[in-house]
Structure formats: structure tokens, C-alpha cells
Subunit: 401 residues, 2 copies
DNA sequence: GATAATTCTGCAAGGTGGTTTCATAATCGC
DNA sequence: GCGATTATGAAACCACCTTGCAGAATTATC
């Protein structure tokens, strides 16, 4: 009837631990190190490693260079190329892709133009830019971010940014072409997932509730609760845009400016940052316009933090400050959420798609369900977008090994 | 590090299954029937029953009256009096209590006046009215519902309805007196929990998201999501009352009526139900006043259903109809939630407290954590409140066996 | 160069939890 | 009384994990 607890689950948990220990390690590990890292006994570790080796996930590594006393230990490591995982971000005018190996190390990223007439072709094109070719590692899973609302059956219901998406079951179509499992999700929700998983360490205790506020051409919201994406009964949680009588697109109350994209609004924010009173007033008016509705959502959800992303979030305190003030005048009680800038201002959806791909493909790739994605390593190894460089630790923009 | 998967968990799952099968059964069960009901093997069932018998939870029962062919089966049943569980609902002017046996059969309920100077005494008084006395079964756990906001440390933070509550750590105080674990929770959240657990069967598939809207002296909201209470980072989720500039107490826009309690507003709703145009207009104005803010919450959470409870909900369609219309004019898109009357219009918090008590005491009572509460049997055996009788299947109002 | 110390390695034994199988016991109908 | 039927208890077996121990490989020391 209910769950199917059995000894097989114990084995899965052991396998999961061993896999995670190997994945998080920077160097190959000896059996003894694995015993210490997993808390399992030596015979168990050996047995699990036999399984993983038989499946090609674990390979022997060179012995340690600095020999210590005693018999040198056999060293093992994950084969990073046992499977690769891709993340795709389908935008209004472009497709972005990342490819990571099994350990979460990002191998390459790409950005290609979008042909609205050939969505599938554009996605494949972006993938070809990052995939190493015919002799490459097999694709274990793909996560796909789309700028639209998903229907209950997993297809795209509607999309303001990309009307051609409506009704398409892109996950199934792409899975058939790639012969790999594809998981589809809304872009804002994926960005919220990524911010939640990555913010847990940077900003103190694991955020129990997180609201991602993305301010760009449109204003959109996604919510993380109980450690998972809040989908809602119709996958519409956080979609504030459909309440009648409320314009929930960005635009100042005084009608002088249209906050269409981050690029167009950035000059205003820069002027505000340097003390231009008019610009500051403009920003303030905008924040006061969106604050009441945002406050209603925050009261409903009571999140620990609000993460501000989207094109305008790079303005930093020039936007966050007035927004904090506007919200503060709405929320009087205790328990006001922290307002923080996004950890991934530009790549949230892309990283979220990749991580979601890892989660989705866990059983297929590792042979064990529910292995968490290597979020931290993805973030560490993600090259910055060559098209929109921003100050960040980044590897070679080309990204190929 | 992480979870502690081990054989002990398998044993817990087996014990849980056997316990649930015995609890849900109307009659004593034979070993063979338990084998069929649990899906476990015969030796496992025997072993688990040995444990449960040693702990006094399972006792032999009389053989079946109607003998069939073959050797008569040994029959076993739970000892309902191995432990009792109490639910307490601390209200603004009274304390209500229920006592249930181990199987969830409600043995008695009581309502006593509240002495705000002696909260602990009032709670004990209500308990004495339902507890069978010194020779009664031991109290395995107590769930306590309070009309106030809980702080992070589990004490009561503040309470509009009962200011004396502020700062009190009632759970600890009561647990010391009763020598039983006590779990404290907000009354609206407990009512939402009860509606969620009970509504799953009555209203189709298990509600993925549920919003309880309680309309009485105040208007309050609680949210169920991912099968659990949405607490929020500061346990303030759903507390819409603190947004500045918005009066979120009931009151018609035209100022003619104060919707203070269900009793005072019921005549108006009755007039509306019989076609009084003025009354209908009054109800409509009220609904249109609260609809915008409610709509914001519904867009954020996208619940499957909105359960309307509280004093005014007994008016049925006279209130639900206009509210549905007002919400419908706010929510345009797809995915509008169903608006349904509460299954427990008067006893939601009380039943929620009792069920929460069962959940909280699971490990102590059954020896296994996470045994679900016997919600359905509680509902079936709950006597109606002798003070506010309403048409419902009820047993003897006295409630004692 | 032999010995000691250290470390890793593999195997055997033992425990828990669960399942399948089988001989045996109790009862009813004929 | 006897067979059919059903329940019962014990034994054998499997999966998973752990503890413990003898042995192998290497470095450091005498």
C-alpha cells in the first residue's frame, strides 16, 4: 500500500552516500577515506563500490604522489564522463545551454539566437555548441527552462514571452530526439530553486521559505517552501499577473518611464545611485507601486528571505533600498523577510535547469533516486556569460576542457 | 550525517502497518487477516505483534462468533485504553476538550468557562470533565489549540482574542502538570489541518493546496501545502492582519453592520437567503471588500480549494455564493480554486488539536514515529457540541461509553 | 639488510529483518 | 471417524550491514 521500505532502500542510501562522498571530494579517495566520509563499514563500502564500478561510475585512480607510511591505498574516483547533464534556458530571443559532467563541473556554456519557427531546432543548436560531439559522454538528463506557464500534463500552457510555446510538449519532443530524460519547468521557478539551494550556505541557515522576485520586463515571482518549489494545484503559484484590475507589469506610476528591460532602466538606476533626486523619486514611486501586492504575498507565505533577481537587480542597493523601505511601510509586524540580491542575477534559470536535470536523472545516472544535485560545484565552475560579462569568479569563457 | 536508514526503520514501517491495520479494522483480526491487510509475511506479522503485545498495545480478543471451516483463528485487537489522547481548544471565553482512545474513538467532550486569570486551571478543568479519573488510561499526548500567534520558541507570542496568553509557554506548563507531551498550535492552522485531512476523501483527490478562510469576529487564514501546515519562517504564514492601511476585520463597507460574531450576523444572512435585496447587497459589499486581498493570497498559493469556516460559514450559499462571485471577478485566469464549506464548521480547531496530539504522541504511544492520526474515526465518533447543536450525525451528547 | 611500525586488504563470523516452505495442530462437515 | 480446511510454529534461506582478525605491502629504523 504505502511506501515500500525494504533492504533495497538501505542499499540505495549507502550507494547515495558513497556517491556523494566521491563527488564532493577534490581528489580520489581511498577505501579508508570513504569509510570515514560515509560512516559506513568497510565491507559495505567495498560492496557498494563493486556495484558502482560494474556500472562504470567509479574507476581506479593513480596512487597518491606523496607516499606516507604503510601500504599505499588503492584510490578511486568517479568517472566524470560516465554521463553528462545539460541545462537549457529557452528565452524570448535566445537559447542558452550549459553542459556539466557527472560531478557537476560545468564543461561549456553557449548562447544562440532563437528561431521561433523552430524551437526544437534552436534547442538542439544550443546543445550542439556545448556537446563534445559523437564520441562524447552519454547525456544522462536534460533540464529545460521555459518562460511560460506549465499545464497539469507537463506541456506548456501559455507563454507571454514566447507565444509559439503554447500547447507544445517540449519535454517529450526533446526527450525523443535526445534519447534522454528531459524535465521541463518554468524559468522563474527554476531560478528560485537555484537561489534556494545556493543561498542556504551563503545566507545563514537553510532558507525555510524563499520568494524570488524577478524584476525585468515583467515582474514575476516564485516561491520555495518546505524545501521544494511551490507549484500550486494548477502549477500557477506565484502568478500574480492574472488578478483583474491590477497592472503587474513594470511601469512607473507617473508614466514617464517604461521599465521594459534591465538595459533600458539601468541608466535611471545609475542616476539614482549617484544622487539624482528625480531618478530616486522615480525608483521610489516604482517600488511603492509594487510593494502593496508584494506585501500581500509575503504576509501569506512569511518567507525567510526575498531574493531580488532579474535585469534590474544588478543595480543593487539603488533598487533594494527603496524597495526595502516601501515594503517596510507596508509590513508592520515582526517577521519581515530579509531582502537580498540574487546569487545568480543572470543565470538563475539556467543553473536551475541544470540542477533540476541532475535531480531528474538521478535514478538513471547514479542508479539511485533522490541524489541531490551538485549545486555548489555548478556555481563554482560556471563560466560567466560571454555576452553579459559581470564581475565574478569565472573560468575560461570558452569553457571547454 | 544525514538520515539514519537502517533495519530499525524497516521494523518501524512494519510496526506502523500492523498498527494501522488493527486500528482501522472494525473487528478483531486474525493473523492471516493481518497478513493480507499489511502485505507483510506471516513471521514478520507475528514478530511485530509480539513486540506490540509486550508493550500492552495488542490484546487477544474473543474468537469469531460465526465459526467457519478449519481451525479457528486466534484473534487480536488493539487495546483502546492502552493510552488516551486529548485535544484542547482554548477560546476567548471558553475551553473545549475532547478525549479519545487509542483507536481515535472520541470518548467525551466538554466545554467549560474560561478564567483568564487562571488559564492553566481552566485547561485542567476542561480535561477533568472528560478524563475518566484516577483509574483511567494514561494520557499519551495532548494537542492544544490557542487563538494567538506562536513565537519561534514555541511559546505564545501574542493574542488579540486572549491577551493574557502573550509570552506564556503553555505547552511546557501543561506538560509538566499532566506528565504527558503537549503540542501547541494556532487554532486556525489546526482547523486547516483537520479540514485537509478530512476533506481529502470527501472532496476528491487529496487537496494539494488548501486555504482555510475563517470568517467570524475576525477574518483569518491558514494554508496547507505539501500535505503540511504552512508555517512560514516566523510562524506567521497567512497572517494577513498586519499589513498597514488595511483593516482586515469584518465590517461592511457601508458601515451599517459590524460582523462581529456569527450570531450577530446570522439574521442578516438569513434575510439575504430569503431574498431581502438590502441584505443581499450588504453581503455582497462585504464579500467585495475582502475579495481583493483574498485573491492576492490565492494567486500566490494557487490552492486546490478554499474551505470557508468560522461562525458565518453556516449560512452556506447565502455567503458562499456572493463570495464566489466576488472572487470570480478578481481571478480571471484558469485554476480558480473550489470554494467549499467547512467539514467541521464549529469543531475544526478542536479536532485539529486532537489529531495533532495523536501525531505528536505517535512515538510515545505506538513506539513508532509518524503514525497518522485516526482522523476519520475522530470525525465519525465526535459528538456534536451540546452548546451549539447543529444537524450532524452524532452519538450520545454525553459521549461517555 | 633485517626488523618494526603502519596502513591497507580480504575474508569469515555474527546480527537484524524479512520471506518462503513445510510439517503439525485444531476444527467442521460428512 | 475421516477428510477437507484453516491456522500455527519452526526451520531454512536471503539481503544488508557490522565487527573482528589474519595477512599483505610499504616505509622507517636499527
Amino acid at each position: 500500500m504505502g511506501e515500500d521500505r525494504s533492504t533495497a532502500e538501505i542499499r540505495q542510501a549507502s550507494t547515495r552516500r558513497a556517491h556523494l562522498a566521491l563527488r564532493e571530494a577534490e581528489q580520489p579517495l581511498s577505501i579508508a577515506e570513504l569509510v570515514a566520509a560515509t560512516g559506513l563499514s568497510r565491507p559495505t563500502v567495498l560492496s557498494v563500490l563493486d556495484d558502482l564500478t560494474a556500472r562504470g561510475l567509479v574507476v581506479p585512480a593513480a596512487p597518491a604522489e606523496e607516499p606516507g607510511p604503510g601500504r599505499p591505498a588503492r584510490r578511486l574516483r568517479l568517472d566524470p564522463d560516465a554521463a553528462h547533464v545539460a541545462g537549457l534556458d529557452l528565452g524570448a530571443r535566445s537559447v542558452r545551454a550549459v553542459l556539466a559532467d557527472l560531478t557537476g563541473t560545468v564543461l561549456a556554456r553557449s548562447t544562440v539566437g532563437l528561431d521561433p519557427e523552430d524551437l526544437l531546432g534552436s534547442l538542439r543548436h544550443a546543445l550542439e555548441e556545448v556537446d563534445a560531439g559523437p564520441d562524447a559522454a552519454p547525456l544522462g538528463a536534460v533540464g529545460l527552462s521555459v518562460p511560460g506557464l506549465l499545464a497539469a500534463d507537463g506541456s506548456v500552457g501559455s507563454s507571454l514571452a514566447l507565444p509559439a510555446l503554447a500547447g507544445r510538449d517540449l519535454a517529450r519532443e526533446l526527450a525523443e530526439v535526445l534519447e534522454a530524460p528531459v524535465v521541463l519547468e518554468n524559468d522563474v521557478k527554476l531560478a528560485a530553486l537555484a537561489e534556494h539551494r545556493l543561498g542556504a550556505e551563503a545566507d545563514g541557515p537553510a532558507a525555510d521559505g524563499l520568494v524570488l522576485l524577478r524584476i525585468g520586463h515583467r515582474i514575476s515571482v516564485a516561491i520555495m517552501v518546505h524545501g521544494q518549489i511551490l507549484q500550486g494545484a494548477h502549477r500557477l503559484a506565484g502568478e500574480l499577473g492574472t488578478q483583474r484590475g491590477m497592472r503587474w507589469t513594470a511601469g512607473s506610476r507617473r508614466g514617464r518611464l517604461v521599465w521594459s528591460t534591465g538595459d533600458e532602466a539601468r541608466p535611471l538606476l545609475e542616476r539614482a545611485a549617484t544622487g539624482d533626486a528625480d531618478a530616486q523619486q522615480e525608483v521610489r514611486a516604482f517600488c511603492e507601486e509594487i510593494a502593496p501586492r508584494l506585501a500581500g504575498l509575503l504576509l501569506a507565505v512569511d518567507p525567510e528571505m526575498v531574493v531580488v533577481g532579474g535585469g534590474l537587480s544588478r543595480a543593487g542597493e539603488a533598487l533594494l533600498g527603496p524597495l526595502r523601505a516601501a515594503l517596510g511601510s507596508q509590513l508592520t509586524g515582526p517577521g519581515r523577510p530579509r531582502l537580498v540580491p540574487a546569487a545568480l542575477p543572470a543565470d538563475g534559470s539556467l543553473v536551475g535547469a541544470l540542477g533540476r536535470g541532475f535531480e531528474h536523472g538521478s535514478a538513471r545516472i547514479v542508479g539511485v533516486p533522490d541524489v541531490p544535485a551538485p549545486w555548489e560545484r555548478i556555481r563554482r565552475t560556471l563560466p560567466s556569460d560571454p555576452l553579459t560579462p559581470d564581475p565574478r569568479t569565472s573560468t575560461d569563457p570558452e569553457g571547454r576542457r
